[in-house]
Amino acid sequence: MLWFQGRNARLVLVAASLVMGSGAGLAAQDGENPHTSLEDVDAGQRLFGMHCSRCHGFDASGDEGPSLRRGRFRRAQSDAGFFRVISEGVPDTGMPPISRGRTDQTVWQIVAYLRSINQRPESISLPGDAQAGRRLYAGAGACATCHMIAGAGRLLGPDLTTVGDRRSPAELRADLLEPDRDVPLRWWSVRVTYENGRTLEGLRMNEDTYSYRLLDADENLWSVSKRELRERERIETSTMPSYEGELSASDLDDLIAYLFSLRTEESLP
């Protein structure tokens, strides 16, 4: 696991705070978190359980709300941003502000906990060579036969333009070696047979009680009424092959380094 967990993460966090070296009062003005002790992280975890877990999942890996373990947060690039989102909520979404009775310290402690279970991607060093990985992506890996990056490639797998924002190196490794584990519903497939015997197979873009919307291997869209079908089969595995044994260990490291480098730019303090 490349993610730091538990106590080690807290020590790293505390160390980082010390290196940044600002006093608590100044830090608050700067928008840095003045409450980052081990006790604060513990308190933050407890507060997260009380206030946040109902939507973000008890281990912060997401449920109705998004996962907060991805290292990067669309609405909160800095500690101050985190503080604001928790204090004020996000208008027009399901994210409410924290109870008004709560103090700033409470909010900062939740921020400290979330930081403790995440690591800034810039600070992660990986064994692979991203440039070599880029060549593998286009070459031996044949990734572009299904995936797209920045508008180039195909539509038969998730767009990877910013995959490094969404997936940790460990998750990317699992994606490559065990693609059938936890396949998102969008990437399930459906195989159908019409009453006249004609068959069709495609990615299950959407399904409801009465119909499917599919994308076939030639990137054609299909709207299929279940009433017209003789047979239908839902395939919950991935269309992606496993790279287990297909790439050497170092090639795999290179490919992961490349994929993890595919991130949006952001300004960090």
Binding site: G49, M50, G101, E207
Partner: protein, 548 residues
């Protein structure tokens, strides 16, 4: 014909076709008559005699969500067409079941708004918005599910835990009573129930360490007549089922609407989860009267009997389902029953006069109990408690069934419920009670996406608990179910379909894509002899009727 004349003719045709703006206008021999007449208690008692109206949340005191209307049939349901649409202003999910009284429809809108519409056209008579304080504590959405009526007065629960009375003709506020302090986590979302000369109404807040209760109010003044605490106080029987002082913040809310049996003169109400939800270690014991049904004297609030479905619940399986009352044959004799597809995945049959447990059968996917014993208590499977590392259990937190109304059809003899066969990883954590804040002691995570599981309209044979038929719904449903005397069943899906089925067979009759999440119960009424079916979907009220 000149172009101008053609346009004029088209315009006239449109007005005639789309527009009789006073469609709800009642008529008698002397011409138009007023559209609203006061709703006496006798009218509520005999609601079956006026199926053109929908006079209370569940349609009648038996809460069968069954209508005597029979114009829409198995044979013609495919000719259902949209009649009118009303757009709610608030972009929250609508959970309302409207009332219809003599051509006037009363819809509630999130968070605590009532709108009176012409039931024939969907045009507005008046709108009332309850003003909320900035600091309102609620658990699960800014919802309101409907109003109650008595005489010329409406009664509405508000999100800040008030009970408000409005004049049904104008929306004028007659009184506004604070039921409980919202700053402590109390809120109100359910339609009240009028019984005789009292407004009976519950409370929400089971995730905030409240102490639940059921209240009765004077419709004329808003004064409280009685309060029954759903957690017995010190010295009262049942208090010993809570370790230490945990009873003081043990939840057991009453956040849905109850039922009433006028012959037995008992009001029935479901109670919610004990708190903290997922950490039972701090409240050892059965935790009475959480997850129970209470039978109370409506005049005094005294407890006649109770039945607890899930003693010492640690999975948040509220028993706030609508109590369905049905008179059916059971083991060879006619009995007055209560039918209850519970959130815990078991279907219960109780004698509603005595509270006697008669049968408990599994109706949804579950892994937590071997069976329901002869005494009505679950025989639990070991190691199904929430844990620090997480425990996989079926049903999930939202349950095999939840607050969305079931329906019982006296015509088919079947009980219909939206069933969800799913699972959850349950976590337990230590929690600290802070007044006005959530107090849950854990939480849940889904091992797979919520829509990857199985959901269906399930028709249950009350006598045996067997499934008569399933109508699978993909991805799932959190809609109420309505049945009619012509054996048509209505329901919906979370992805915006509204459908009609043959209530005897489950065969599909008609489907309409209304495009918004259906998270409310359907109801039916008629105006000028025409049957209408209404459903809230997304933030819109849709009304359908047969093609004319």
């Amino acid at each position: 014909m000149t172009r101008r004349a053609l346009i004029a003719l088209c315009a006239l045709t449109l007005i005639v076709a789309a527009g009789r703006p006073f469609d709800a206008q009642q008529r008698d021999a002397s011409g138009p008559a007023p559209v609203f007449t006061p709703v006496t208690y006798e009218r509520l008692l005999n609601s079956a005699d006026e199926p053109e109206n929908w006079l209370m949340y569940s349609g009648n005191y038996s809460s069968q969500r069954y209508s005597g209307l029979d114009q829409v049939t198995v044979a013609n349901a495919d000719r259902l067409r949209l009649k009118w649409v009303y757009q709610l202003r608030d972009l929250d999910r609508a959970e309302t079941t409207p009332l219809v009284i003599d051509g006037i429809m009363y819809v509630t809108e999130s968070p605590s708004t009532v709108i009176a519409l012409d039931a024939a056209t969907g045009r507005v008579f008046w709108r009332y918005e309850h003003e909320l304080p900035e600091d309102v504590n609620y658990c699960c959405g800014r919802n309101n599910r409907g109003v109650a009526v008595l005489g010329t007065r409406l009664f509405m629960s508000t999100l800040d835990a008030h009970l408000v009375s409005l004049d049904a003709r104008t929306g004028t506020v007659l009184w506004d009573t604070e039921v409980a302090d919202t700053r402590l986590g109390y809120s109100k979302t359910a339609a009240p129930l009028v019984v005789k000369d009292k407004i009976i109404t519950g409370i929400a807040g089971g995730e905030f360490g409240i102490r639940g209760f059921l209240d009765a109010y004077d419709p004329a003044t808003g004064d409280r007549i009685w309060r029954f605490y759903t957690i017995p106080g010190e010295g009262e029987p049942g208090n010993e089922t809570w370790a230490g002082d945990s009873w003081q913040r043990g939840g057991s809310p009453t956040w849905m609407t109850g039922s009433y049996d006028p012959d037995a003169d008992l009001v029935y109400w479901g109670t919610g989860n004990p708190g903290p939800d997922w950490n039972g270690e701090v409240r050892l014991g059965d935790n009475l009267y959480s997850d129970s049904v209470l039978a109370l004297d409506p005049d005094t609030g005294e407890l006649d009997w109770y039945f607890q479905f899930t003693p010492h619940d640690v999975h948040d399986w509220d028993a706030t389902q609508i109590p369905v009352l049905a008179d059916i044959e059971f083991d060879g004799r006619a009995r007055k029953m209560m039918l209850w597809p519970n959130r815990n995945a078991f279907f219960y049959v109780l004698d509603r006069l005595s509270g006697e447990f008669l049968r408990g059968t599994q109706f949804g996917r579950q892994t937590w109990a071997e069976r329901i014993g002869e005494d009505g208590r679950p025989v639990r499977v070991a190691n199904m408690l929430p844990s620090v590392e997480g425990t996989l259990v079926s049903p999930p937190i939202e349950g095999a069934a939840n607050w969305w109304s079931p329906s019982f059809s006296p015509s088919t003899g079947l009980l219909y419920v939206m069933a969800y066969d799913s699972e959850q990883i349950y976590f337990m954590r230590e929690d600290e009670y802070v007044a006005g804040e959530t107090y849950t002691g854990g939480g849940g995570r889904r091992p797979r996406p919520r829509d990857a599981y199985y959901s269906a309209v399930r028709a249950i044979v009350p006598q045996t608990g067997e499934t008569a038929w399933d109508y699978p719904v993909q991805p799932r449903s959190s809609s109420g179910v309505l049945t009619t005397a012509s054996d048509v069943l209505f329901g919906g899906t979370v992805d915006g379909y509204f459908f009609a089925l043959d209530a005897r067979t489950g065969d599909e009759l008609w489907v309409m894509n209304v495009g918004g999440m259906i998270h409310a119960g359907p109801m039916t009424y008629s105006v000028e002899g025409q049957q209408r079916v209404t459903i809230a979907a997304g933030n819109t009220i849709f009304t359908f009727g047969l093609e004319e």
